[in-house]
């Protein structure tokens, strides 16, 4: 690589000092070869601009054409999207299944501040679950209440239960081949939860919830359960879980 080529490159990058520019000008006036080299460099770059921009336009055109594709393309696109979802969703489901039973990343101090029994934190997962079952007087843990999932049931708790159920429904939907519809339904449910906008009321309800249990220990255990279900959930998510668990447990106790 000659020094002149680097000089031209620096000129084109506007990186020459005034002194260097003046020297370049003197040389350009005296040296036809250098003039030709600079002129060719400029013309090559002009050609490159045309070619690169044409390629960019071509790429944009392909994307636009793809997005505005006809029914045949849309069907292919949906098939590909469904195939990707078929692979990704079970993986995500498996990952969730793996991560949810773990004690959340919360520090012991945070756990204690939420009324979680320190003894429980020291137990392994299986022992924790068993302990919780015994303390709650349950022989087994039913995931959802059929009543709350019924379409006529309204309110945030019902929404939450439907939201939780949606994950299971999506999994079922994969088998049934109705992925897109149910993903949309899932999104609608999530939006409904967010739009409910009742965070202060939900926090209050969560606090009240603790008092409804027979003992502080039991309330703490429920909180732990909430943490386990939504370890990375927002306080609002956790409050919703607490409320739903409360109703669920109360329902069981009545039974």
């Amino acid at each position: 690589m000659s020094d002149d080529q680097v000089l031209i490159e620096r000129f084109l990058d506007n990186a020459l000092s005034e002194a260097d520019s003046a020297a370049l000008q003197e040389r350009l006036m005296a040296e036809p070869d250098l003039r030709l080299a600079l002129g060719r460099a400029l013309l090559t770059l002009a050609g490159l601009r045309e070619v690169l921009q044409a390629q960019q336009r071509q790429r944009s055109k392909r994307v636009r054409r793809a997005l505005a594709g006809g029914p045949a393309f849309r069907i292919t696109f949906l098939r590909v999207a469904a195939a990707v979802l078929l692979v990704l969703l079970p993986l995500a489901w498996w990952q969730l299944g793996r991560s949810s039973p773990q004690v959340p990343d919360a520090s012991p101090e945070l756990a204690t501040s939420h009324g979680i029994d320190g003894d429980l934190l020291a137990m392994d997962e299986a022992a924790q679950l068993e302990h919780l079952r015994q303390q709650a007087g349950q022989q087994r843990h039913e995931p959802l209440s059929a009543t709350l999932l019924a379409p006529e049931t309204t309110g945030d708790t019902a929404l939450l239960f439907r939201h939780q159920a949606a994950a299971g429904l999506v999994r079922a939907a994969i088998v049934q081949g109705r992925v897109v519809d149910l993903l949309l339904a899932e999104e609608t449910r999530s939006l409904a939860l967010i739009q409910a906008g009742q965070e202060p009321a939900l926090r209050q309800a969560a606090q009240t919830l603790a008092g409804q249990f027979a003992s502080e220990r039991q309330a703490g255990q429920v909180r732990l359960l909430a943490f386990r279900i939504l370890p990375r959930g927002t306080p609002r998510d956790q409050a919703l879980i607490l409320i739903s668990l409360n109703e669920d447990l109360q329902g069981r106790n009545r039974l």
């Binding site: 080529q5 000008q25 030709l36 002009a46």
Partner: protein, 173 residues
């Protein structure tokens, strides 16, 4: 070559045919692809508006270069920018002599350039794309490609020289 119908359409067709030279001159003045693009487009508006000023005996490129230069000077005055480092006539000679040195129609040259571009390494193509399609400055490109600025200058320069040689070689075969 300079004897053509000085109608509006003829001038616009000529401007279209000479766009590489006009853009090259704009880049030489601005030394910045984005500013060159602005200047190139602003000058085209002026060329479209003042086509009647082109005399039948006047070389098109010289006339268009003057318009570009005046448009550039107006923008310098407006924005208090630094003047171009080269005298106008020096830059004009560089581009004009390179245009005169070229052979064959522009469209053919672009097709050859497209084919030659495929022969570059992916890294060199990325550098050229970032510099001349996306308009990034060399320091940012060097950062993105994790290389020194001087090494980037050499890569760009080597790639450009290789393209020039390739275009010329394929044109003569």
């Amino acid at each position: 070559m300079h004897m053509y119908d000085v109608g509006r359409d003829a001038v616009l067709r000529r401007a279209l045919a000479e766009r590489p030279a006009l853009w090259a001159y704009s880049l030489g003045l601005t030394r910045n692809p984005q500013q060159a693009e602005d200047l190139f487009q602003e000058s085209h508006v002026v060329i479209c508006g003042k086509w009647q000023q082109l005399r039948p005996d006047q070389p098109f490129l010289a006339w268009a270069f003057t318009i570009i230069r005046l448009t550039w000077l107006a923008s310098l005055h407006d924005k208090h920018r630094r003047m171009a480092p080269l005298k106008d006539e020096v830059l004009e000679r560089c581009v004009q002599e390179a245009v005169d040195d070229e052979e064959g129609p522009q469209g053919d040259r672009l097709a050859r350039l497209r084919a030659c571009l495929e022969q570059l390494t992916p890294r060199a193509r990325s550098a050229l794309d970032l510099r001349y399609a996306q308009g990034l400055d060399c320091s940012r490109i060097a950062q993105r490609l994790t290389m020194g600025v001087k090494a980037l200058y050499q890569l760009l320069s080597r790639s450009r020289v290789m393209l020039e040689d390739c275009v010329r070689r394929t044109g003569t075969t």
